[in-house]
Symmetry: C2
Subunit: 290 residues, 2 copies
């Protein structure tokens, strides 16, 4: 069990961690830091944290587990701010969707007496803020940890136990491999959803109103994804550039093949693809991830 859990950033993910930690008694005390005083006040009012501060150094003092739940662009400054206050033996983790850049941003600032173990619970919704979280967000979802080669085994076991307590399935892999897998499972879908909704946002006003009105034909699912937090996602793309651009390159080629099939009326190519993708859908259902 964790004695003092410090959550930096009490948005959708941070507040979901606080809720499940409280509900499953994963931590004796739970504190948070958030640069927004309104978020701190809301988290206290929701009763999901015991203390809240706008200064991350306040939150991490005496904590044995620190989880950073802010956009990745803030990691460097946060690591610098909390470093002097971190207790010896504390685990420092995060929930960001990019892991190589997380290590690059955090590691240089952290003292040698803490354990850096980057993490990524693959779960979320399009909603933001302390009120958007819920205790079952991680239930049955995967949490990927990307320990460094010299990670302390006991610290890793403690962090795994914490996430298992939150309901997650655990996986470990290298940060590099994580970033490649997530580029296709998460980053590319978000980029395309944002872009296609943006394409609609650029249509003439009358047509745009109709696009919203008739969105039940498929478009509405893209708007849900494209309703996700803008700053968080900006930072994801800025920090997983190479893997995202590589997957985007592959997608480009595949779109060109579809475009050509439509243009020349090649129904067989279309039907073959649409049949193969159904098998992937069955795989997702069989893996209980939908």
């Amino acid at each position: 069990m964790i004695q003092r859990l410090a959550i930096i950033g009490i948005g959708l993910i941070g507040s979901s961690i606080a809720r499940v930690a409280r509900e499953k008694q994963l931590a004796a005390s739970i504190v948070c830091a958030d640069r927004s005083q309104a978020h701190c006040t809301e988290a206290l009012a929701l009763g999901i944290v015991d203390a809240a501060s706008t200064d991350p150094a306040d939150a991490v003092a005496g904590a044995d587990l620190v989880i950073i739940c802010t956009p990745i662009g803030t990691y460097g400054a946060i690591a610098k701010a909390i470093a002097p206050a971190l207790a010896p033996g504390a685990i420092v983790s995060d929930v960001g969707s990019v892991k190589q850049a997380a290590i690059l941003a955090l590691q240089p600032h952290l003292p040698a007496h803490v354990h850096l173990i980057p993490g990524h619970p693959v779960a979320g919704t399009e909603h933001s803020g302390p009120g958007a979280g819920f205790a079952t967000l991680f239930d049955g979802r995967w949490c990927i940890l990307t320990p460094l080669p010299d990670t302390n085994a006991e610290a890793l076991t403690r962090l795994e136990a914490f996430w298992q307590g939150a309901g997650s399935n655990l996986a470990t892999m290298t940060a590099e491999h994580h970033d490649r897998v997530l580029a296709i499972t998460s980053h590319l879908p978000h980029l395309i959803a944002y872009t296609i909704v943006g394409t609609a946002a650029d249509l003439e006003d009358q047509l745009q109103a109709e696009v919203i009105q008739y969105s039940a034909g498929g478009f509405r699912d893209f708007t849900r994804i494209a309703g996700s937090d803008p700053v968080m996602w900006r930072d994801v793309f800025l920090n997983n550039r190479d893997a995202v651009l590589e997957m985007l390159g592959r997608l480009h080629e595949d779109i060109a093949l579809m475009q050509r099939a439509i243009r020349i009326g090649d129904g067989q190519t279309l039907q073959d693809l649409f049949t193969r993708t159904r098998a992937i859908r069955r795989g997702v259902l069989a893996a209980k991830q939908a």
Copy 2:
């Protein structure tokens, strides 16, 4: 009220129409035709139709409303087959996602004594077959009718009343305008979802297994869309080629802008787009289409 409703093709949409027509007593008798004997048997067993035949001419005999619910590539053959059996004054409609091509395929074969009024209920799921339908599928969703310039006003009113009875909001527009709007609200999202899931299907086996495992990061929503009926969607793309290719061209340009922003690290362009798309999401929620 309709005396005899004939549904050609008793899949997701056809069986949903049968269910709601029965539940809301929109038709005194409901018959269906489906080229699959198994579908006919299943529809009878479900108790959603009074009679079922593999011959569409059987189903339409004596019907005052005929609704074609098959992939658009079958329309010409179906129109030819039912033409001799159609009762004078019957309304012939459909539910296809492309309307100009529907008119081109149906009109030449239909006798002058029937009323052709193409329609499109903008609703659906990724599931297929008679068992996949449900009576509330159209509830609060839009049904677009694309009457021809000389459409009989009384027949149009009857068809509108039928769909209102099924819970739909009604809209009328030209077939050309319909095809342009749906290209962006439905056809482009499906094409992109199919393509991105196809890109994943082409990955090395190990990576593909991980893509499925970690699909909760966004990819799973695309697999849902890409699990839709392959033949139906093949026919949509073959029959709304120009509008789909135009919208795909616009999307291409927008993807190129995103690609460049990621490559040069232009966070402001990314954040601006991701903020604009949130407004579209709010519009969809305000329109109660999600």
